[in-house]
Subunit: 670 residues, 2 copies
């Protein structure tokens, strides 16, 4: 918070925002069928009101943009982890010196956009107006709107340099920015402003500062977040004083769990706040013991928050996280505000972009790469009807660049080499990497395999149910990258597989997706004839050679839910059209993430390249969801056929050999 020079001006005259040139930018709302979560259609201020009226307590989290691209990748992982605890919103600070409105991975704008679009978090973008032209500010706001951001924290910001003076027609105060937003964008954005429980350090007086806060609210702000403070009484008095002069909007206390001696010192300097004597007395003696200070900080924050919540004046708490998670999460856990087992609205994370809120179906292929899916479909107009029918489908984004979430791993090259092998000696050594990942056992070099190119995270709890079977088949070169078990009507509240509103039932068809050799595919196709029409399959290689038994290329729903008073929800499909787009990405990951770890022409790289060039990507669906999953039996039958082939009939060439022209190519490492 203090890093982004979050201040209002104390000067008395705060008019100046133009009221001319207003244009209404209200958007027509469009409703999807069925709406599972009424929150999804609400604005932040409405959600806040509903939660407050229901007597529910909630929390929000503040982050600042990282300095480096790898810092950005880590922060976004943190968004996912901290997002799972159920914050009402997060906010991202604005750093005028850091090109905050640019398209850089580390800009405030892109970090906030990522939180909304990829992590599905309701987000507030900070914006400072000091020393900015109206055109520039309008440009930032238009861009934010285009990216799906709906909430702005309107700040003055620090003057750049000591010789700053008020400009006649420019922005001198946060009030000017609030007025400008309302004028140019009507009621589109929810607007938040800053409050100072001890008065702004530059303000003439506490009362004068309160009057300026009232002006900001009167100009159109929807709620207030306060600067941090150290005593509950400070905040509670501030709220009383605000109410007394007619400020009626929500006022959220800014909570700062002390996390270390240095960061506290820096804070004191930047924010010109005084740390109370009783806190300094505790901290000074333990200033070299980080753990002790953090534990004290947690304890101090918890007890202060308890007083705030019990006062009845505080519906929610806003946390200055300093981009760290341990202390804030611990405070929230102790307060009982952290949602340990969040209810999922759909089996995948719903994007918070206003346009994507209505999205209600996705192909299963990107289940482990949702950010890539969102990136590739970001220009789609129509998500609720986002089918991929032959003629009606808008194209997927092209596979032509390397976006942050697209083909890069979040692990370093060194870490990847440790996990996936410094040196590969055969296809079998690739199989062993898959097996180590599945079983969570160390690989031959003693390192745990925490990710694969297709799976950036360890196995999901749901997939863990299949671990033994997955282990067995991966050892034999059925290299699984995605699977789900069948589910026949589990309650929507089930902690592992449940999703959607209470009182419902969720279902799944068993699904298995893997890479495997063309020899295996030849046997598999023979075996699959016994499983018609129970099992649907799609089999494709990198060249697009494609075999399927799908009806008319129709999508197959593999996850669905039945809920009280709703239509059926079917959020995950095996879609034949999108599979051919996924194929490009799935094969590219062999090369981009794995082969390129090794030197050109090295045996390791050639092994991965051979797999990329010759293996097939296979997906199987067992349609008979009430019965035991037969897909393992299909693979067993395939192995059985390979192990005990029927007597040779030399004159006959198997008709279903899908990759004949490749079969006599040299196979390295065999």
């Amino acid at each position: 918070m203090f890093e982004d020079t979050w201040r209002t001006c104390s000067k008395s005259d705060s008019s100046g925002a133009s009221n001319s040139g207003c244009e209404s930018s209200k958007e027509s709302s469009r409703s999807s069928t069925p709406v599972l979560d009424t929150d999804r259609t609400d604005r932040l201020r409405d959600k806040m009101r509903h939660r407050t009226e229901s007597g529910d307590h909630w929390f929000s989290l503040e982050f600042f943009p990282p300095r480096t691209a790898s810092g950005a990748v880590n922060l976004i992982s943190r968004f996912d982890r901290m997002g799972s605890g159920g914050p009402l919103f997060i906010d991202v600070t604005w750093h005028p010196a850091g090109d905050p409105g640019s398209d850089k991975e580390t800009s405030s704008m892109m970090i906030a956009s990522t939180a909304v679009n990829y992590c599905g978090l309701e987000s507030i973008l900070h914006l400072t107006c000091c020393n900015q032209t109206k055109e520039k500010i309008t440009g930032y706001l238009s861009k934010a709107k285009r990216l799906g951001l709906k909430n702005i924290m309107a700040l003055r910001g620090d003057p750049m340099g000591a010789d700053w003076e008020e400009e006649e027609a420019g922005f001198n105060y946060a009030t000017d920015l609030v007025k400008h937003i309302r004028c140019e964008f009507d009621d589109y954005f929810d607007i938040c402003v800053a409050g100072y429980p001890t008065g702004h350090p530059e303000a003439e007086s506490y009362d004068e500062d309160l009057r300026h806060l009232k002006e900001k609210v009167d100009a159109g702000a929807d709620f207030i977040i306060t600067q941090l403070f150290f005593r509950a009484d400070t905040f509670l008095k501030f709220v009383r004083d605000c109410r007394a002069i007619g400020i009626t909007c929500p006022i959220l206390p800014g909570i700062f769990p002390i996390q270390g001696y240095q960061s506290l010192r820096q804070l004191v300097k930047l924010s010109k706040l005084e740390v109370p004597e009783e806190i300094m007395q505790v901290i000074e003696p333990i200033k070299d013991n980080d753990a002790a200070i953090r534990n004290y900080g947690i304890e101090q924050a918890v007890s202060m928050c308890r007083v705030l919540l019990e006062s009845g004046e505080v519906p929610g708490l806003h946390f200055y996280t300093l981009n760290r998670e341990v202390a804030t999460m611990e405070v929230l856990r102790q307060l009982g505000l952290w949602i340990e087992d969040p209810r999922r609205t759909l089996p995948w994370a719903v994007s918070a972009h206003p346009k994507r809120k209505v999205e209600d179906v996705r192909p299963i292929f990107w289940a482990s790469r949702p950010k890539s899916y969102i990136y590739r479909t970001q220009d789609w107009d129509d998500f609720p009807n986002g089918r991929w029918g032959n003629s009606s489908s808008p194209a997927f984004g092209e596979l032509n660049d390397y976006y942050l979430f697209y083909l890069k791993s979040k692990s370093s090259k060194d870490a990847l080499l440790k996990m996936w092998g410094e040196e590969l000696t055969s296809e079998q050594s690739v199989y062993e990497v898959f097996t180590s990942y599945i079983t969570a056992q160390p690989n031959v070099a003693g390192h745990k395999v925490m990710c694969l190119p297709w799976n950036d995270d360890p196995l999901a709890p749901e997939t863990n149910l299949l671990k033994d079977e997955l282990d067995k088949v991966n050892r034999r070169g059925v290299l699984t990258i995605n699977s789900q078990p069948s589910i026949n009507g589990k309650p929507s509240s089930d902690p592992i597989v449940g999703w959607g509103p209470p009182g419902g039932y969720v279902f799944q068809k068993a699904y298995l997706e893997f890479f495997t050799s063309s020899e295996n595919v030849t046997a598999l196709l023979k075996v699959l004839k016994k499983y018609e029409p129970r099992v649907n399959y799609h089999i494709v290689n990198v060249h697009g050679q494609n075999t399927t038994n799908a009806h008319d290329m129709q999508p197959n729903a593999v996850t669905w839910g039945i809920f009280p008073g709703r239509e059926i929800v079917q959020p995950t499909v095996v879609d034949p059209v999108s599979f051919l787009y996924w194929k490009d990405e799935a094969f590219a990951l062999w090369i981009e993430q794995w082969a390129k770890l090794y030197e050109d022409e090295s045996p390791s790289r050639m092994i991965i390249k051979y797999i990329h060039d010759n293996y097939f990507l296979v997906n199987l669906v067992d349609n008979d969801f009430p019965l035991d999953n037969c897909l393992w039996q299909v693979i067993d039958d395939m192995f059985e056929l390979l192990d005990n082939p029927p007597e040779e009939q030399p004159a006959e060439q198997p008709a279903e050999q899908p990759n004949d022209e490749q079969s006599d190519k040299e196979q390295p490492g065999k």
Copy 2:
């Protein structure tokens, strides 16, 4: 067949159809998701080819338009019954003297349209061109296309009067009509023409007649149906002769089961056919014994059809039904062609109108009145997305006229009075009518109640499962008009509740809809509080006073199916918006069908009118489909509350009394 003067001309020169002014009327095809029955998207000629290629035998049925409106109602019931046996198509003959292209209920055009739109039957409309202007013929064809008809039987027809002469620019031959259809409507219609196994009676020779048939096919006909014949050899020789001169299209034999002496005599006279001596020798001695003749006719038709089918030249049989069903059905049963247990594509009959083929969801309210539903939504543009959301919904057809299928009963006033009571003495006597209908037991006057205003047919087999419960509640004034049991994953092949393609599973939520008094509703609303959110309800009276616990007025899917390789199909919903349109119709049926049986101001009429004015229409859904249906328990709890009310609290007026202002009105018959 002979009634519509179905003949081609034997004159040699059959040119004359204009080739100018052609316009393409190809329609863009639009695919729905998911397509359950690939047949639904095919043309008749494609279906015929698929069935023939598969080695399957099939049949079709010919009908003529009835003379009276009540005859039309009966014929349409026959369409439903005979349609259930699985004909590939039906055809409707054209009677130039009977205003065949008009909007009258009895016209050929309207009968064929009804078969397509309301009965979901693939249908061929006959059309004769003799003595017609091109404008008139084009007008008929345009109207047929507009009504959803896609197949035409192109005939010359009899000249009107003896002084007929060829017209220069008019239609003299069926060939002219075929050419005209292809010219004006491109490939839109499938065209059938007539063939004469013994030569046309007016033809110069058998060979000359064959050459004219070749001309008709060359002009664009897709297949041939023959005039009736009495010996299999006659037809098989005809087919050989057709093939010999290059006629390659399907040739369907016209089968006429002899059904009586008089109809056979009439046939002989009109068609100028000779009945073979071996048949006359059997028939003459039994000419006064109708049953014996019909049995002989069945036996003769079956043995001839067996020879035809075994020849390998005959993929399907076309039956001249004379609008009767017994003989034809018996022949088909003995041949094994009648489908005793037809597979339903969806739980309701799919309309065969090209525009409606993609329709995949309907409100449950019209389950027993599908024709009324189709009529009221006939002007909708968009059936597959036919949701009834608050803003997006097109209006239902207005309740402003009395169409054939709309508010009239197919029974006569006399029959209705016998079933529903010559004289009603109380509301209780109305309850007894409902109970008699449910239990299929005679009413107090000894008559079976075969229908109710809301149910034109006896109880469906599915509803029969609920008979005991329905009986119990109707006796106490819970007047049920629609219900379905819960189903938790029965195979799609289930003979009673199954629908959709094989290998799937069907599901239902329990549903119950009834009229009941405002006293009962007051108790019911108290009881329903215990069943939140398990039970959804909508309760409305004729004045539109409406109570519901539906989320945001969203539809609730109450029938759905899961199939191999498809998305989820959810064909039946409880839709809050459409319920308010259904309410108008459901209440109107009390007055239009029942009250109006009795004299103005008569006690019987006043009793029905009282119910109409004061009762509520209630629907209940039990969302917890895997558990036992709780809706009977809800009704039991309501009775329990009524029988044993909690102690009086005199000062308190029940808040949920929904119809308070009506409660002190005089109640006749109580």
